[in-house]
Amino acid sequence: MPLLEQSLVDSVIKRALRSGADFVELFVERKRNQSISVEESKVQRVNSGNDLGAGLRIIHQGTVSYVYTEDLSEDGLLKTADLAAQIGRRGGGRFAFAELSGAPRPPQRIDVPPDSVGAEAKIELLLEADQAARAVSGAVKQVAVGYGQSAQEVLVATSEGIHHADSRTRVRLMVHAVAERNGEIQTAMEAPGMQRGFEFFDDTSAAEYARAAAERAVALLDAAPSPAGQMAVIIGNEFGGVLFHEACGHGLEADFVGKGSTVFTGKIGQAVASPIVTAIDDGTLPSRWGTLAVDDEGVPTRRNVLIQDGVLVSYMYDRLRAGQQNHPVTGNGRRQSYQHLPIPRMTNTFIAAGAHTVEDIIAATPRGLYAKKLGAGQVDVTTGDFVFAVTEGYLIEGGRIGRPVRGATIVGNGPRALHKIDMVANDLKLAPGTCGKEGQGVPVSVGQPTIRISELTVGGTGVVPAGAMRQ
């Protein structure tokens, strides 16, 4: 069943044009969600839901306006078209969209639609994971496991005659383990996910991820408070890429660039990173969390090199900013749902693999922090200043991995840290995440190989300097 009959799509666009709009875009979305959670080894929640709605964006004399509705009846949509035309009639703006180019790509291949699998199989998976985590140690006191799936269908039709569709199916596992000993509490989590059907679990063991989370929570019980101060920091691969995403990636989004509110403004062609750094945003990678056939403006996605050998090559654009800044579209126009205007967003963003091995990097580091896994973080896009929690960290002493540390944060400035990356390993991996911006959450991948930053501020509860930390 098409999301909306072609004839209705046409008449809605025609209706909005009739009022004098220069451009009309209709975005229709249907999304089915299911989530299951197991806590205290019991099925706590099996929830499901349906989102259905449409958003109509028009440009009238250079002013962009947007109206959305859940009423997809002919009456409801035509009323929405009238309202969009009416609120947009002020005019006086100077906005125009960049031309949409490129052939649409096919949606990701899904072998077993998750909706076709009963809740029983998913519950079984979660209970297995729960047991695997609890079996790790008596210190594992609480385990929460969850399963989530979503199937989003979108349709983008514009007054230029474009009519593109995409279908995005995602499955994800979440494991959260709490370990406790002598009043000391530590937690760890794992959350693998792909744009695949239920076949994802043919080659992904929920129990293994659960064990890994539980083992890490238990190991953290023996971790010493992290030392604080300036030191070399090795950042692990996979989710370690969140640092680049937050502290640099957002600064390369064309809306911030257009307003001059990032340090990367006007730096195309200039060295913005150490020459061993190449960074890419690629919306075409098979099955990845942030992959799209077409973005939420109907633009086919592509591989965009952002930084090549340390030199800034490109920003990321939506149609509006590409139009304003005279740049071709890049396929980065995204929105959380039909209730939101598209804005420039990342898709799958990562630092490319380098020449070293992780062992090389550790052996070459006399003293520092190995931030193997990063957790939550916060960044000021204007300055690039960041703070990130280290959820799995070790001291590096004499070129070897030393004792685990807890409570470490890394504090610094993204653009400055880019210049201080002095080693890049060959172990590139991506991890799924939800990126928030202007109140809109969209699925993305972050990623990187293991990298070393020659000097960064580490915040921690340990008051003793690292060099003196021996028992």
């Binding site: 929640r45 099996v46 349906n50 989102d51 306006s65 406790e180 204007t382 501020t457 509860t461």
Partner: protein, 445 residues
């Protein structure tokens, strides 16, 4: 009763549900963003959604939809009942018995619907214009937005509950950029109220400009142990982090740093924290919670002692307590436990008098990395930005400082609270005055 509600509840009964509950929300939104004197975007919409909980043999089922077509509503019932079959049976899964609630006046302003959209656009344009003409170092605005909305929540259940209320909100949000030499700093501020006329245009402009310009030239300082003063917004953000630990659900699941501490001293005596969903100025105010239980004021920490936790109907049943009317939700979720307006009680000192007690210390205006605080252990390591305090006055701006510690230890070190209560959204709608904390080791150069 609303005809959709009536027919859905009847359908649930007919299909074997002993109890059922509908949560229907409807809302409107108007948002305008401006840039360089022009409208950047206008959004206008009406939206709606419906969430259904079914109860059968103490198993809860839940489903939601934004599609109100008859076929979609039929499958809403089928899905909720099917989902419920898989959930474990728990005697604590019950609907609350309907209790009368006291109406809260003043939550909704009719002006939101009545104000001419052009006036709203002009408000945003005026914010931007004034922000670029107050200080020579602030010539650009990266975000100037006016937004308002109205929402209606209606809850119907098979125990006879029929309750609804309306609420409106209006915001102005402003982010400026200050520049000097090659340095850039951004400054954020917002103003909020029930409608446009309650917004403080001059105040939000002044604050956004001062926040950006005031940080120009910020430098790291050497590591030191000094008294720390938290700006109300910084303190409110810490309050927001603490908020999740008051949830009885978090306590049951061992995710609360306050677990097992009722009756114990968890903060300095000067600290009193309440969650008050009936606060007149509270943007999270509501006459009843997400299950229709009447909202009431709950003192959580009184004179430093933990008084209790927040409950919904489930956690109350499970722990032999009573619901505190703290179920929070949207139509897309089942009722969780959460805060509404969470307030650190102000004292009688003025902000100036509080600052005067510090001869050499740090004033913190921004905390970064609050989402890295471990909600279970309370351990944190945060980035700080602000100003150095010399003899009670803010002097040079400082940045890239870190402070590490524990939320409980921090609460115990509060030595003074001022009288300048201010609110911001930080999980709930959190309010705090300026807070003075005794010596903390602050890491810098």
């Amino acid at each position: 009763m609303n005809p959709i509600g009536e027919s859905l509840l009847a359908r649930c009964k007919a299909q074997g549900a002993e109890d059922a509950e509908l949560y229907i929300s409807r809302g409107t939104e108007f948002t305008v963003r401006v840039y360089k004197g022009e409208i950047e975007s206008l959004v206008s919409a009406e939206s709606r959604g419906i969430g259904l909980r079914t109860f059968r043999e103490h198993r809860v089922g839940f489903s939601y939809t934004s599609d109100f077509e008859p076929a979609a509503l039929d499958s809403l019932v089928d899905e909720a009942l099917l989902n419920g079959r898989y959930n474990h049976a728990d005697d604590a899964n019950v609907l609350p018995e309907p209790r009368p609630f006291e109406v809260l006046t003043g939550l909704a302003s009719p002006a939101v619907a009545g104000v001419d959209p052009q006036r709203k656009i002009d408000f945003a344009l005026e914010m931007e214009r004034r922000a670029t003409s107050l200080d020579a170092r602030v010539r650009r605005v990266s975000d100037a937005m006016y937004s308002d909305g109205s929402g209606q929540v209606a809850i119907y259940n098979s125990r006879g509950l029929e309750a609804s209320f309306d609420r409106t909100v209006a915001y102005g949000v402003l982010e400026t950029i200050a520049e000097q030499d090659s340095e850039m700093q951004s400054g954020f501020a917002f103003t909020h109220g029930r409608d446009m006329d309650e917004l403080d245009l001059a105040g939000v402009v002044k604050e956004a400009v001062e926040n950006a310009a005031g940080l120009l030239g910020a430098r790291p300082v050497p590591t030191a142990s000094v008294p720390v003063v938290l700006h109300p917004h910084a303190a409110a953000m810490i309050l927001g982090v603490l908020g999740s630990s008051f949830s009885a659900d978090a306590v049951i699941k061992r995710r609360s740093l306050l677990a097992g501490k009722v009756g114990e001293s968890v903060a300095a005596e000067i600290v009193t924290i309440t969650d008050d969903p009936r606060l007149p100025e509270g943007l999270a105010s509501r006459p009843f919670d997400g299950e229709g239980v009447p909202a009431e004021r709950n003192e959580l920490i009184g004179a430093g002692v933990l008084k209790g936790y927040l409950h919904n109907t489930y956690t109350a049943r499970r722990t032999n307590s009573r619901s505190t009317g703290s179920a929070v939700r949207s139509y897309k979720s089942v009722p969780e436990v959460g805060v509404s307006n969470l307030v650190l009680k102000p004292g009688s000192l003025s902000r100036e008098a509080l600052l005067a007690r510090v001869s050499n210390g740090l004033h913190v205006s921004q905390l970064s990395g609050l989402n890295t605080v471990n909600p279970v252990s309370g351990e944190f390591s945060l980035g700080l930005t602000g100003h150095w305090i010399e003899n009670g006055r803010l002097t040079r701006p400082v940045k890239e400082l870190t402070v590490a510690g524990n939320v409980i230890a921090l609460l115990k070190k509060v030595v003074a609270v001022a009288d300048d209560l201010r609110f911001m959204f930080a999980g709930g709608f959190c309010g705090s005055p300026t807070v003075l904390i005794e010596e903390l080791p602050v890491g810098g150069l």
